[in-house]
């Protein structure tokens, strides 16, 4: 805001070499010639690295969240004998500036013998086994993952569901398609690394959502100890999942620094970020839904097909397991079965993107509208009819998720009021009489946040320094989530100090406790919860130290805004600086069981899943002459438990909603049938602007969770549920034309075709 923020590209180290990658121009082919001599000879070029130099450095390559034994695509730093997607790094130039590095790229002679690529979008969409060939010949199949996994003894079907589908009065069957759209942080990826062979130390500054993951991945890659690596982030200009794990290029940079024993810097440009930064979405979901005569859902069968590209991250990039867990959402759906298959293709690999599993909500919430209309029930009533109500809590869903504190019915009712659902039909009828096409769409969901494995144990460490001010360090990696603000607020509140006296340190492996970073909507619940418990611990310690000074019982003391007072005797006050001075230097009188110092830490153990809920509603207008859509109104009702900071909550929701607007109407990463990307700049990959978004209206239902502080997840939901709310609104607007509208994106051309009766 003042220009004093510091991002990775603002970090300047001496004697640093700038990287540019030579990337594959074809989707699949054999490298038959690669001549880098002219590039090597260019003034200002330090070295041009190819697979021959760099790939042998790899010791191991896996992400903490999936573990060393999980399946991975056959990863390599640089393409060796063949290329597998347009944008795959083949060679790496280190030069005195990015300008010179790009000059050198133009001098590299590359000859690739093209082979027919496996491009899911163009092979009778989502055909699994590419008869044209294998993306990864090493694997012998293009299947990256399957659920249920046939070799793990999981049930491969649900006979009771098949029975329901065979006998129910109504069965609906629809397949939904979600196109490829991307995280697109405004700051692209970037990393600086330098290896000092004499101290045996790797220093890294990266644009990352989690510095500890950068450290761990680097150590694994090079076979060095994690303690030899210091990774940190400066300000991070957005991530949305793309910066959760180290990318191939990030790995190349640390490997190059290690090999060359110098400082290496890669600041990705926008063209690279669109073509080669992790991709997202790109999936189909088929839903078969059975209902009884009254419209009560009796069962749902789901089949999910994901295109994970060539080198997805983490693991094989499939989100089917979480999609399976979350699909029942806020409804009692009766019998249930979920299957899924993820397939490799010769395209850029999938990464996490804000609600990576969100196809379950995109498909389900569209299906709710389609079924309701087919049954002649209002979509709002149909949702109410099937929704889990508070009196049924705790509720175990058909997928085994246990909800304890969710309020889907309350948020649905609130959003209906906020958007004036009742009044809208008259408005719609009046508009139609004027030839205007208005529509309303609802969508509801339960936002699940994973609290298992490495994601489920996060720490906040607190230290009161000699001057009485508080340093909080966490394993989070804020990249626009205001974690500095919210953690400080929780600490100030639970410890009993002024907010201004708390400073938060994060995303630095030397300064923060081990943590998995920021992602998965866990920040408030996990880091907030840990901050609260750590604050309470430290408060008790402060009171014990103060009790020595005041010759009082700690029980008789209170701590507020950084001053300890004797209850009922407010004149007796001990400022925090004095307590701190005692704790560190004036501890002679401490009893033997009172440890000097003022520090406390808490590592929270999160529930396996944490849940919040929300309902969104959109009113849109479709221009019958151009098919262009304007979002006229947008309302959100959210229950994320106790809100640490409502402005931050609403900021997270708004950002997610506008990413949904982008995804549904504007953003589409397009490959042609040869796997060549067509939307490689912001001229072609269209992000929504301020002129394309409505004013968002918020309602909050506050039902505390059972975790410390009563906080719930909120970061991803806006992006998960806005797409179906918007699509449903457009479908409603185009109902006179019989629109099914099951494939995104909803471009003006698609909608105009429907209006003019060219397609359905």
């Amino acid at each position: 805001m003042t220009g004093h923020g510091r991002f990775v590209e603002d970090v300047v180290w001496p004697d640093t070499w700038h990287v540019a990658f030579l990337r594959s121009p074809v989707a699949r082919g054999r490298i038959v010639g690669l001549d880098v001599e002219a590039a090597r000879a260019l003034d200002g070029v330090r070295v041009v690295l190819t697979a021959a130099e760099l790939n042998p450095l790899v010791r191991s390559w896996w992400q903490t969240a999936v573990g060393p034994d999980a399946p991975q695509p056959p990863r390599r730093l640089l393409a060796a004998e063949d290329v597998r997607w347009v944008g795959e790094p083949i060679a790496m130039v280190l030069a005195t500036s990015r300008y010179v590095a790009e000059d050198a790229l133009e001098l590299i002679e590359l000859d690739v013998e093209e082979q027919p690529p496996v491009i899911a979008d163009h092979l009778d969409r989502w055909k699994v086994e590419g008869e044209v060939g294998l993306v990864h010949p090493e694997l012998g199949t293009n299947v990256a993952a399957q659920v249920p996994s046939p070799d793990r003894g999981m049930p491969m079907g649900n006979a009771a569901l098949d029975d329901v589908l065979g006998t129910a009065p109504h069965v609906f069957d629809e397949t939904f398609h979600q196109h490829r759209y991307l995280c697109v942080p405004m700051e692209a990826r970037g990393i600086l690394a330098r290896w000092d062979p004499y101290r045996g130390r790797m220093e890294i500054v990266a644009a990352t959502q989690g510095a500890h993951e950068v450290r761990a991945s680097t150590a694994r890659l090079l076979g060095i100890d994690e303690t030899q690596v210091h990774a940190s982030a400066e300000d991070v200009g957005g991530g949305f999942g793309q910066k959760m794990y180290m990318s191939t290029e990030d790995h190349c940079v640390v490997a190059a620094a290690y090999r060359e024993e110098c400082a290496v810097r890669w600041i990705e440009d926008r063209n690279e970020n669109l073509v080669a930064g992790g991709h997202a979405r790109t999936e189909d979901m088929r839903l078969q839904v059975a209902t009884d005569e009254t419209g009560r859902i009796l069962g749902i069968k789901a089949h999910h097909v994901e295109d994970v590209g060539a080198f997805p991250t983490p693991g094989v990039g499939s989100n089917a397991k979480l999609a399976a867990a979350y699909l029942p959402g806020p409804y009692d759906i009766g019998q249930y079965f979920f299957s899924g298959v993820a397939t490799y293709s010769n395209t850029n690999g999938k990464c996490a993107y804000r609600g990576p599993w969100m196809m379950e909500t995109v498909a389900r919430e569209q299906m709710m509208d389609i079924v309701a209309v087919e049954l002649g029930i209002d979509p709002l009533e149909f949702r109410r009819h099937n929704m889990i109500t508070s009196d049924r809590l705790p509720f175990t869903t058909s997928s085994g998720m246990v909800y304890e504190t969710v309020t889907p019915r309350e948020t649905l009712d609130q959003v209906a009021e906020l958007i004036d659902y009742e009044g809208f039909r008259a408005e719609q009828a009046a508009a139609r009489a004027d030839g205007r096409l208005l529509g309303i769409g609802l969508a509801a969901y339960i936002e699940g946040s994973p609290g298992f494995g490495v994601l489920g144990a996060e720490q906040v460490s607190l230290r009161i320094d000699y001057d009485g001010k508080v340093l909080a360090s966490t394993g989070s990696g804020s990249h626009g989530q205001s974690v500095e603000t919210t953690v400080a607020q929780v600490v100030a509140d639970s410890l009993g100090v002024d907010y201004e006296d708390v400073r938060v340190v994060q995303n630095d492996t030397a300064a923060s406790p081990f943590g998995s970073g920021t992602g998965g909507s866990r920040t408030a619940a996990v880091f907030g919860g840990a901050a609260r418990l750590a604050g309470e611990k430290l408060r008790r310690k402060v009171l014990r130290v103060a009790a020595v000074a005041l010759e009082a019982d700690p029980e008789d003391l209170e701590l507020d805004l950084g001053v300890v007072r004797v209850k009922g005797a407010p004149a007796v006050a001990l400022p925090m600086a004095q307590v701190a001075a005692m704790a560190y230097a004036g501890h002679a009188a401490f009893p033997p069981d009172l440890e000097p110092g003022l520090e406390a830490a808490h590592r929270i153990k999160a529930p396996t899943f944490m849940f919040s809920n929300a309902a969104h509603a959109a009113v849109v207008e479709v221009d019958p002459g151009t098919g262009q859509v304007r979002v006229l109104r947008y309302a959100v009702s959210e229950d994320c438990g106790n809100m640490i900071n409502p402005m931050v909550v609403e900021g997270q929701i708004a950002g997610g909603v506008v990413q949904g607007i982008g995804g549904v109407f504007y953003e589409h990463f397009v490959y042609d049938s040869t796997g060549n990307p067509l939307t490689t700049t912001f001229m072609d990959y269209l992000l929504p602007t301020a002129a394309d978004v409505p004013e968002i209206v918020y309602g909050h239902v506050v039902t505390p969770s059972t975790t410390p502080g009563g906080f719930k997840p909120v970061g991803e939901g806006g992006a998960i549920v806005s797409p179906p709310a918007l699509i449903n609104a457009v479908r409603d607007a185009l109902r006179p034309f019989g629109a099914r509208l099951t494939a995104q994106p909803l471009t003006p051309a698609v909608l105009l075709d429907i209006i003019e009766g060219n397609t359905r």
Partner: protein, 179 residues
């Protein structure tokens, strides 16, 4: 070496540099002037993150070469705040209204808003959205940014955005509006 000696007044201070003509103004500001507040979000003139004032006009510093700014006056985000930890009213409004999350696009927005309100002190809501449409933000959904502009309009004019002042309040613009 094909370098040109240039002199630019940046944020009121004279800066000289020897630059290759191909070096865009944003890189000259970031590297030669060491003012890294100007961010490059796309380098092809769409995202607006690199917006600076050149001789008072908001321009994209990725679409201008440093040599072209020789002799010009440039204002970057570092030159907006009055100093001493104080913020300009536009910056304060961004803070108050949660107009930034990751902060990467913010310098471009602040410069754009500053230039826009100097030219149009009483914009309508539609004019605000239009004026911001050349700057991309991925975090805020623009809600806080639009709110921030409205706040500045209210503070400066005492009126809500788009409102016409009462007739008695209209005075000839004898005092030029400071950029």
């Amino acid at each position: 070496m094909n370098e040109h000696r240039i002199e630019i007044v940046v944020n009121g201070r004279k800066r000289t540099a020897s630059v290759e003509p191909r070096k865009v103004l944003a890189d000259v500001l970031r590297e030669d002037c060491e003012l890294t507040g100007t961010h490059l979000g796309c380098e092809h003139g769409v995202c607006g993150a690199c917006t600076v004032l050149v001789d008072g006009d908001a321009v994209r510093s990725c679409l201008m070469f440093g040599v072209q700014a020789d002799g010009a006056e440039v204002t970057t985000i570092e030159g907006v705040a009055p100093g001493g930890g104080e913020l300009s009213d536009v910056q304060a409004a961004f803070r108050d209204c949660h107009g930034l999350q990751c902060g990467f696009c913010t310098p471009g927005f602040v410069i754009t808003v500053r230039a826009f309100l100097a030219e149009n002190p009483r914009p309508t809501d539609a004019e605000i959205r239009s004026a911001l449409s050349g700057n991309l933000c991925r975090c805020t959904g623009y809600q806080g940014i639009i709110a921030a502009v409205r706040q500045v309009v209210r503070q400066r004019t005492g009126l809500p955005p788009g409102a016409e002042p009462p007739a008695s309040d209209i005075r000839p613009p004898s005092v030029p509006v400071a950029p």
